[in-house]
């Protein structure tokens, strides 16, 4: 790790002022950044601790929720408003990492976390276009069990590792951004970029900006929603595939529906085609199958990750069937 300076921001303005320079990084819980620094994947010279910035979890004016970017993951998952109104979000956060990591990690940091691609993390021994643009991608043709089947490019197939963001995508989360020019809001589904030719540019956030809050509109899915994470061991592992589903039913037909996937794409993957295909439909196996195919028709399957297509389909199908049944 290079020598670093460390300072604490007392306010958003403070953080914007301190974090503007080259080599500066915002430090939340450090669960991702400190690890990347130790591996040499990231080499900042200046850390700005932003954990003193707003961390409240409150009801928003529209009846939705506003979560300060410095809120710890564990605090969000344990909050009564989240547990009752957005159980899918609580479940997704609780599926992630370990209790210790969730106690440290902030919501802003979670949104900004980097991929766990083995080749991205191997500074000395592997090529990676995300780490060194133009150097090549060793994951394509290598171990790509954890890699994307949707949304990847010839330059990069790394996945976004967050569980929380998958639920935020399904819940129409909004990312509130502060910058030198003022505040702006970006839907979470538009916050992360697909890699294309520039996998090193991962979000729409400008280096001079910071994430200050996440908001969620009121959710119709509290009664029928789920987050299921499929992984290589029972706990404390990144997702092979994860699925967030929210449903409302009218009679035996889907009224509102929201579906997002984790573990299969470079960003939290909101499955709009599945939603469009199922809205107003009955949840028959053939309808689910058809909807799934609409979303996954152009999936790129590699030897290491090809199984994810079937796994995603079976998991989604089982969840929809269960959630679409008689209300509990």
């Amino acid at each position: 790790m290079n020598p670093i300076s460390y300072s604490r921001a007392a306010s958003v303005a403070d953080a914007l002022h301190m974090a503007g320079g080259q080599g500066a990084r915002l430090l939340g819980g450090g669960t991702n950044l400190v690890d990347l620094m130790r591996k040499g994947v990231d080499t900042p010279s200046q850390l700005v601790d932003v954990t003193a910035l707003p961390d409240g979890i409150d009801r928003a004016e529209d009846g939705g929720l506003i979560i300060g970017a410095a809120a710890r993951n564990s605090a969000v998952a344990a909050h009564p408003l989240v547990r009752s109104g957005y159980p899918m979000l609580a479940r997704a956060i609780l599926a992630a990492a370990s209790a210790q990591v969730r106690n440290m990690a902030t919501v802003g940091g979670n949104v900004m976390q980097r991929t766990r691609c083995l080749y991205f993390n191997d500074v000395a021994g592997a090529r990676c276009n995300k780490r060194v643009p133009g150097s090549g991608c060793d994951a394509i043709g290598g171990f790509n069990r954890y890699h994307a089947i949707l949304g990847g490019s010839d330059a990069c197939i790394a996945t976004h590792p967050s569980d929380m963001c998958v639920a935020l995508a399904a819940l129409d989360g909004q990312v509130h951004i502060a910058g030198p020019a003022g505040e702006r809001t970006v839907p979470l589904v538009a916050f992360h970029r697909l890699p294309g030719e520039r996998p090193d540019i991962e979000t729409v956030l400008d280096p001079t900006e910071i994430v200050v809050a996440i908001t969620l509109p009121p959710s119709p899915f509290a009664a029928r929603s789920a987050y299921r994470k499929v992984r290589d061991r029972a706990s404390y592992a990144f997702a092979l595939v994860s699925v967030a589903v929210g449903l409302t039913m009218r009679e035996d037909r889907v009224d509102a529906i929201s579906v997002a996937f984790g573990g299969i794409a470079p960003k939290p993957w909101r499955a709009a085609r599945i939603e469009d295909a199922l809205r107003g439909a009955s949840l028959s196996p053939s309808a689910i199958e058809k909807a799934f195919e609409a979303e996954f028709a152009d999936a790129t399957l590699l030897p290491g990750n090809g199984f994810k297509r079937g796994l995603a389909k079976r998991t989604l199908s089982a969840m929809l069937t269960e959630l679409g049944g008689p209300a509990q």
Binding site: Y6, T31, V34, T51, R83, K229, S235
Partner: protein
């Protein structure tokens, strides 16, 4: 500002790269906190920071400035064991003993979290504010602490014992 460790004040390190883990082990010689991976993957370095369990390897010591740290040395001594420490011995919740301080620190905080009604991934009813502490609940909540000797059964038995629950 100072870092309070087990009730005693210490200055933060000059080098901002020093992790809380290395501060404890190399500078304060509180070596009960262990290093297993230095990358947040094993839980051996678990300490309590303002009463919450965190990984000291991914916490820069300067981040703990103005806060309070409790390590395994602050929980009990060989002469006056913490109930969890005694239960770990009774249930043989360790072999080599290296992951043990992290397991015990994590378990201490975990029982507080349960008492506060915090759910886990396995909690069936997330809206309920009381947690029924099943064996599986404890296993899930402790899964951030790896053990390679395979003392898992004894560790969970010890925690359930202290939690006042008994094996079925």
């Amino acid at each position: 500002m100072t870092i309070k460790v087990n009730g005693q004040d210490f200055p933060p390190p000059d080098d901002a790269r020093v992790s809380l883990l290395d501060l404890l082990r190399e500078q304060l010689h509180l070596t009960g906190t262990k290093v297993g991976c230095n990358q947040g993957a094993c839980g051996a370095c678990t300490v309590l920071l303002d009463s919450r369990r965190v990984l000291s390897c991914l916490t820069l010591a300067v981040q703990a400035d103005g806060r309070s740290v409790t390590t395994i040395e602050g929980l009990g001594t060989a002469e006056a064991l913490h109930p969890l420490q005694a239960a770990f011995i009774e249930h043989d919740g360790f072999q080599c003993g290296y992951c043990t301080p992290g397991q015990i620190c994590a378990a201490t905080a975990m029982l507080e979290e349960v008492a506060a009604g915090m759910p886990s991934y396995l909690t069936v009813d997330l809206a309920a504010d009381r947690i029924t502490l099943s064996r599986e609940e404890v296993q899930e909540r402790m899964s951030g602490n790896l053990c390679r000797c395979g003392a898992h059964n004894g560790i969970i038995d010890a925690i359930l014992d202290v939690a006042g629950e008994h094996r079925p």
